[in-house]
């Protein structure tokens, strides 16, 4: 089966994900945004250990796989988009 290379969404798509560090827990993830609404996030470690919010959920007995996302990371991404540190691919085309 075709492997996915680091930073890629599909083998046919060379628009790479970019590194971003969460302002709350300092976890670094890979992010790509095709549009303002679309978001891809690749975590690079056990999210339930490195992310404060997900760790709280896990400690409360909820598997991190049942948590839809971290609000601090989402805000970090939104700010990074506003400040131009993460590009929205649809808008640079």
């Amino acid at each position: 089966m075709s492997p996915i290379l680091p930073g890629r969404i599909t083998p046919d798509d060379d628009r790479l994900m970019e590194e971003l560090t969460c302002r709350r827990c300092a976890t670094t993830v890979l992010v790509r945004k095709n549009t303002r609404t679309q978001t891809s996030i690749q975590w690079l470690a056990d999210a339930g250990e490195t992310c404060t919010e997900l760790a709280e959920q896990r400690a409360a007995g909820k598997p991190t796989g049942l948590v839809s996302g971290c609000t601090a990371l989402r805000e970090t991404i939104e700010d990074a988009v506003t400040e131009g540190r993460i590009s929205v691919l649809d808008e640079v085309r």
């Binding site: 089966m1 599909t10 679309q38 891809s40 996030i41 999210a47 049942l66």
Partner: protein
Amino acid sequence: MTAVDEIRSIEAGSAPARFARGWHCVGLASAYRDGKPHGLEAFGTKIVIWAGADGALHALDGYCRHMGGDLSKGQVAGDEVACPFHSWRWGGDGRCKEIPYARRVPPRARTRSWPVLERNGHVFVWHDPEGNPPPDDVTIPEFEGYGSGEWTDWTWSELLVENSHSREIIDNMVDMAHFFYIHKGLPTYFKNVFDGHLATQYYAGTSHEEAATGAPIDIGRFEGQSTKSEATYFGPSYLVDWLDNSYGSMTVSSILITTHYPVTATSFMLQYGMIVKRIPGLDDETMATVAQKMTAMIGEGFLGDVEIWKHKSRIDNPLLCDEDGPVYQLRRWYEQFYVDVADVTPEMTQRFEFEIDTTRAVESWQSELVAAAQAGATVPDEPTAGGV
């Protein structure tokens, strides 16, 4: 010739010869409690499952190690299963406990036993090609309020899918667009999260009927749509969908299970059923009818999937557009169940999130539906099979 001029080829690959590691649901516990042993064609072999006199469920290799008798054609004797051929008595631990006509049991009289779990009224069998017991953190969650009378009884149906691998049904987890074309749904919010041995789909949407009126659709929000579904695979095959459907001011909350076990390397048994949360003021019979009707509609939806699987090519190199979900990452997640535990890579289990922008899809589908309605077409209104 540049890449864009090249003809794209399908890499079909081949289905894995081994079966997934994990808990596999094999049906309702009540079905196994009829005092008889049950045969199950699964994992390329035959398994016998029975409930002992003490009520505990057991699973063994189906063929007796004495002379090969089919244990599922035998009888339950106390806590053991008695072979129909010479009545050797096999215990749930895989050991022969007694041979009624013999002074002693040969020391090697031991067969394969399969770990069994009973949860929420379902029976699960643990399969691991390496023969290890299930780890504590790989389990099936208990449903809140199950058994308290808050929910209806399970509906349950099964459907044998031949000449197909279960990867097809897993793929549907991320396949936003097929919910429109196959299940007559209209997804307005669609997100996937893969994390550890869980894979989740968040789906919210409206119906074709509603969209066809041309009324504005609230795009990109999980809350507030007529269908709201959170569907999670706990391991390779057991999909739990917490599903809310609103009809006007009434919301029907249900838990829909879609699960499968492999029969051979190229066929699998798809099973589905649901429990519905009792609605105050509605009697048991009405509630049961609601559950049956919804299950029947969901079953019809699966037939749409099966029809596609029957005719499609296996494809290892799908070509995706931005409105498609993360097929490659989902398959990477699924791969963890097909390799030895020592070969599970961090990439297979590390969290990955993917939210689709449904704006373009919804606009295009709504205008298609509005045009069809104006041309006099009847617009179907069915609930969708969440996750699948």
